[in-house]
C-alpha cells in the first residue's frame, strides 16, 4: 500500500468510527455535490457552465437512446476500430519490444528511428493516413494502432531491461539454452510490464479513436460518413443537440474505463505470482 504520510490514513477506520469517515461514502457525497453544482450552474446560466445541458436533461436524452439502434451501432464501430488497432499494436509491438531488448544489434538499428517518430502525436498522422490507406476504416485503425504501439513497445522494452541480471546468471549456470532463457526468464519477467503497457495503450486508443472519427468523419470535411462515437458527438454538435454531446462523452468515458479495467483484471490473472502480496 502506498506509503502513509504522518497523520494521514490508518489501515482501515476502526469499528465504531463515524460513517462519514468511510471513503466510499465520501466518494458518493463528492460526486453528488459535483452533479448538484453542475445542475445549478447550467440552470442559472453561470459563466462557462451556462450553455452546458444539466445532468437531468442529459439523463432524459440518454434513456431513449439506450433502445436506439444507431446509438449502439456507433459503440460497435468505435469498439471495432479500437480493438483492431489495439490488437495490431499488441501483435506487432510486443515482439518488436522483446526483439529490441534481446538483440543489441536490432535495438541499435531500430530504436533511433523509433525515437524520432515517437514525438509526432498520433493525430498528426490522420491526414497522411487518410491519403495513404485506401479505406477510411483502415486509416482510423492505423492511427489508433499508432496510439497504442509506442506505449506498448516502451513498456515491454523497459520491462525486459529491468529483469535482474542475477536471474540470467542463475539460469546460465544451470545450463539453459538461450531459447530457454527467452521462454522461461525474459517472457515471464516482462509479463507485468506488458500488462501495464496494454492497459495504458488501451486508454490511448480510445483517446485517439474519438479524435480520428471527429477529424475524418466530421471535422472540416462535410461529406464524411465516419460512424462511431466520435462522429456521434461531432454530429450532435453540428446538429445542435448539446445533450447528445454530453451523452457521447460519458459513453466513451465508460467504454474506455471498462476496457482498461478488463485488461488490468486479465493482467492479474496472467501474473499470479504478483497477486500474492
Amino acid at each position: 500500500m502506498s506509503a502513509v504520510v504522518a497523520s494521514a490514513a490508518r489501515p482501515r477506520p476502526r469499528p465504531g468510527k463515524s460513517i462519514f469517515r468511510h471513503h466510499v461514502v465520501r466518494a458518493v457525497i463528492s460526486i453528488a455535490v459535483f452533479l448538484v453544482l453542475w445542475e445549478l450552474g447550467s440552470r442559472l446560466k453561470a459563466p462557462w457552465v451556462g450553455d452546458v445541458p444539466p445532468p437531468t436533461v442529459v439523463m432524459n436524452t440518454w434513456l431513449p437512446l439506450l433502445t436506439d439502434q444507431g446509438y449502439w451501432y456507433s459503440w460497435y464501430q468505435s469498439s471495432r476500430r479500437v480493438l483492431s488497432g489495439f490488437l495490431a499494436a499488441m501483435l506487432i509491438g510486443i515482439p518488436f519490444g522483446l526483439a529490441m531488448a534481446t538483440s543489441r544489434f536490432f535495438h541499435d538499428v531500430t530504436f533511433p528511428v523509433f525515437e524520432i517518430l515517437r514525438p509526432v502525436p498520433p493525430l498528426a498522422w490522420v491526414p497522411a493516413s487518410i491519403i495513404f490507406w485506401p479505406t477510411q476504416e483502415l486509416s482510423i485503425t492505423f492511427v489508433t494502432f499508432l496510439g497504442a504501439f509506442y506505449t506498448i513497445v516502451i513498456n515491454v522494452l523497459g520491462g525486459a531491461r529491468s529483469i535482474d541480471v542475477r536471474y540470467f546468471q542463475a539460469a546460465q549456470s544451470m545450463g539453459s539454452s538461450s531459447w530457454d532463457i527467452f521462454r522461461r526468464i525474459i517472457l515471464p519477467g516482462t509479463l507485468p510490464s506488458i500488462v501495464v503497457g496494454s492497459a495504458v495503450g488501451m486508454g490511448i486508443t480510445w483517446e485517439v479513436v474519438v479524435a480520428a472519427e471527429m477529424i475524418s468523419g466530421g471535422g472540416s470535411q462535410a461529406a464524411g460518413t465516419g460512424g462511431g462515437l466520435g462522429f456521434f458527438i461531432w454530429n450532435s454538435y453540428v446538429g445542435g443537440s448539446y445533450e447528445q454531446i454530453v451523452v457521447g462523452m460519458i459513453s466513451i468515458g465508460v467504454a474506455g474505463y471498462f476496457s482498461s479495467e478488463l485488461l488490468r483484471w486479465l493482467g492479474k490473472y496472467v501474473t499470479p505470482w504478483l497477486r500474492v502480496r
Binding site: V5, F34, P119, W206, E207, Y237
Partner: protein, 292 residues
Amino acid sequence: MANGKQATSAGEIGAWDIFTYRFSKWLRSPTPYRMFVGFALFFGAWFLLSEVFRVWRFASLPGPRQVLTEWLNPNPVYGMSLYTPEYYTHVWMSLRRVLIAFVIATGLGVPYGLFLGWSRNFREFTFPVFETLRPIPVLAWVPLAIVMFRGDETPVIFLTTLASFYATALNTMLGVQSIDEAYPRAAACLGASKWQIFRHIIIPGALPFIFTGLQISVGVAWFSLVAAEMVSGEYGLGYLINTSYVNVQYPVIIIGMISVGVVGYVSSALVRFAGDYLMQWRVRELALGGGR
C-alpha cells in the same frame, strides 16, 4: 577525474567526467554506425517507395526529397518553408498555446496533487470526481469546449490545459505517496511543524515524480493541441496540417508533422534539463550508480 589517480573526495567525479567517459566509449562501440544504418534504411525505403518506384499507395505520399526541398526552399511552391514568416507564426501559435496550457496546468495541478497526497480528507472528497472525469478522452471535450468558451483560442487552450492537468496532478500525488514514511516522521522527531514538514520534506521529496509528470504533461499537451487545432482554431501546426490536406498540399502535411515532432521533443527535453538542474542531489547520486 585525473587518469588513474584515486579520487579522494566524492566531489571530483562530476557529471562532466562521467559524460566524457561514456561518450568516448559510445564512439568506439558499433552503436553509432548501426544507428546510421537504421536511418538510411528508413529514409531510403521511403524515398524509393514514394518517389522512385511510386509503389501502390506510397505514390500519393510525397517522398523525403520533395519534403526537404520544399522545407528548405527560399520561395516554396506551397508558401510554407523555413524562410516564410507564416511557417513561424504557426509554430509560434502552437508553442504559445502549449506554453500557456503548461503554465496553467502546472500552477493548478502541482498544488492540487500535493494536497491530494498530503491530506486524506481532501483526497477522499475531491479525487472521486477527478477519477470519474479522467477516462473521458480529452478530445471528446472539443465540441463542449467550443460551446462553453466562445471564440477559437480559449477552447484549444482549455483542452490542452485539461490534458496536462490530469497528468501533472496524478504524478504529483504519486510523488507525495512515494515518499518513505520515515522522512516525515524523522522531521516530526526533530520538532518540525506540519507546515514545515510540507515545505521541507513533502515538496522536495515529491519533486522527482513531479518532473516526470511535467514531462508527460508536455507530451500530452502536444497530443491534444494538434487534434484540437485540426478541428477548430485559426492558426497552429495542427491547423496547418489539416488545411494543407484539404488544399491538397501534401508536402506541407509532412513538414507540419516533423515540426510538431521536433518542437514537442525540444519542449520535453527542456523540462528534463530543468528537472536535472533543480534536483542536483539525484544527478550526483545517479552518477555514482545509485544511492543507498
